[in-house]
């Protein structure tokens, strides 16, 4: 299974970024091969449809699960349609820790999106 994680860096020991669409980086972890790919979020500074565009990177990579701190309404809708399960990382976890938590069933699954106002507030605080 491939897992898409938003992170502050592009490595397995980077801290999970609590934002989805405006995350700094993403890490894709393959649980079968142990392979890790990471990259900068190319849409981070985008003006429109940031969550949608970023979610598409996850879909194009065929991930089955995603881990972040929050998922905005549009990103949530896109990932849900693609059948990607979304999970909330525990505060301060690294990518590796979050993946381990997910695999042992400890991470909460998102049933609904983070409301836009809340997502905007988080973005402001991080700036």
């Amino acid at each position: 299974m491939k897992i898409f994680i938003t992170a502050k860096g592009n490595a397995i020991d980077s801290i999970v970024d609590p934002r989805f669409g405006r995350a700094e980086y993403y890490v894709i972890y393959d649980t079968e091969t142990g392979k890790v790919i990471g990259g900068k979020n190319p849409h981070k500074e985008g003006r429109i449809a940031v969550g949608i565009s970023f979610a598409q990177i996850a879909i194009e990579n065929g991930v089955e699960a995603a881990i972040s701190g929050n998922f905005g309404p549009n990103a949530f809708e896109v990932l849900k349609a693609a059948g990607t399960k979304m999970h909330r990382a525990k505060e301060g976890q690294t990518v590796k820790e979050a993946v381990e938590s997910l695999l042992s069933g400890e991470l909460e699954e998102f049933r609904e999106a983070t409301p836009r106002e809340v997502a905007e507030k988080i973005e402001k605080e991080l700036k």
Binding site: I48, A49, I52, Q56, G83
Partner: protein, 279 residues
């Protein structure tokens, strides 16, 4: 003649001036092009005789015909479409992001897989108040762009034989450009405050780029305050009228009333001057 009333800063008195001016030069046609928050009707109190939907084409993907190739989503400059390939086979449309540009329908390689259907984005109201014809656009909340509705309002008055006053939105962005474009003259309503002059300078820059003749109406003018005059002088711009600061007008405004009939002689002189320059 088509005369646009713009301001840069909001709340300087575009609508107040536009309506008093429309009355002074009546018969005339007042068009409220501030479609995101039109309020001219509150003061003009026209008899409304038609309300029409304003629609624009948006994509609809036909399940069974779509092959999920994703060409439409790739081409969409606004990311309003998401195509999730098999096995999920889902299509998502985000109407609030769609600008109705039509590129999705243009690039779709499967005949009949993506059709365009009208979607209501606002309404257009028409009416009359005495000798003033009235039209306003009201954009639905959350729509991506006010430009198409303003364009439609202007299309409808294009061939009107008399004088049209276009009450533009505040600011200097695309909707304002759309409202003032191809008019004969732009009146800039400015208030003599540092903010007022700052935003006036921005809108002047925009109007100069569009090469439209323009002049200034000072609203809430106060004795001894020359902020706008100093700016106008530095730009070589003409000040056509000064509406004095008046608490009474502010009180009337807050009751949904305007001092119709006042300043009429002065406004007719303004009109004559505009006609000399642009008519």
């Amino acid at each position: 003649m088509k005369i646009a009333v713009a301001s840069g800063k909001g709340g300087t008195g575009k609508t107040t001036f536009s309506l008093l001016f429309s009355k002074a030069i009546a018969p005339s046609f007042y068009v409220d092009a501030d479609v995101e928050e039109p309020n001219g009707a509150i003061f003009l109190k026209p008899t409304v005789n038609s309300v029409e939907d304003f629609t624009e084409p948006v994509p609809r993907i036909i399940p069974g015909k779509c092959t999920y190739c994703g060409e439409c989503a790739k081409a969409c400059p606004y990311k309003a479409l998401v195509i999730i390939p098999p096995p999920a086979k889902k299509t998502l449309f985000f109407p609030e992001l769609c600008h109705s540009c039509g590129v999705c329908a243009y690039v779709c390689p499967e005949k009949g897989a993506l059709i365009e259907v009208p979607r209501k984005k606002g309404i257009i109201r028409r009416g009359k108040s005495g000798e003033i014809d009235f039209m306003e656009g009201v954009l639905n909340l959350g729509e991506a762009s006010a430009v198409p509705l303003i364009r439609e309002l202007k299309r409808r008055v294009k061939n009107y034989p008399g004088d049209v006053i276009i009450d533009a939105p505040p600011g200097t962005s695309c909707p304002v450009v759309e409202a003032v474009e191809e008019t004969n003259y732009v009146l800039l309503v400015a208030e003599p405050t540092p903010f007022g002059v700052h935003d006036l300078s921005l809108v002047v820059e925009m109007i100069e780029m569009l090469s439209l003749p323009h002049g200034i109406i000072i609203n809430k003018a106060q004795e001894g305050n020359t902020l706008v005059e100093d700016f106008a002088e530095s730009k070589g711009m003409e000040i056509l009228y000064r509406i004095p600061f008046s608490e009474e007008i502010a009180r009337m405004y807050s009751r949904g009333e305007l001092p119709f009939g006042e300043f009429e002689e002065g406004f007719r002189k303004v009109y004559k001057r505009i006609k000399e320059i642009a008519g």
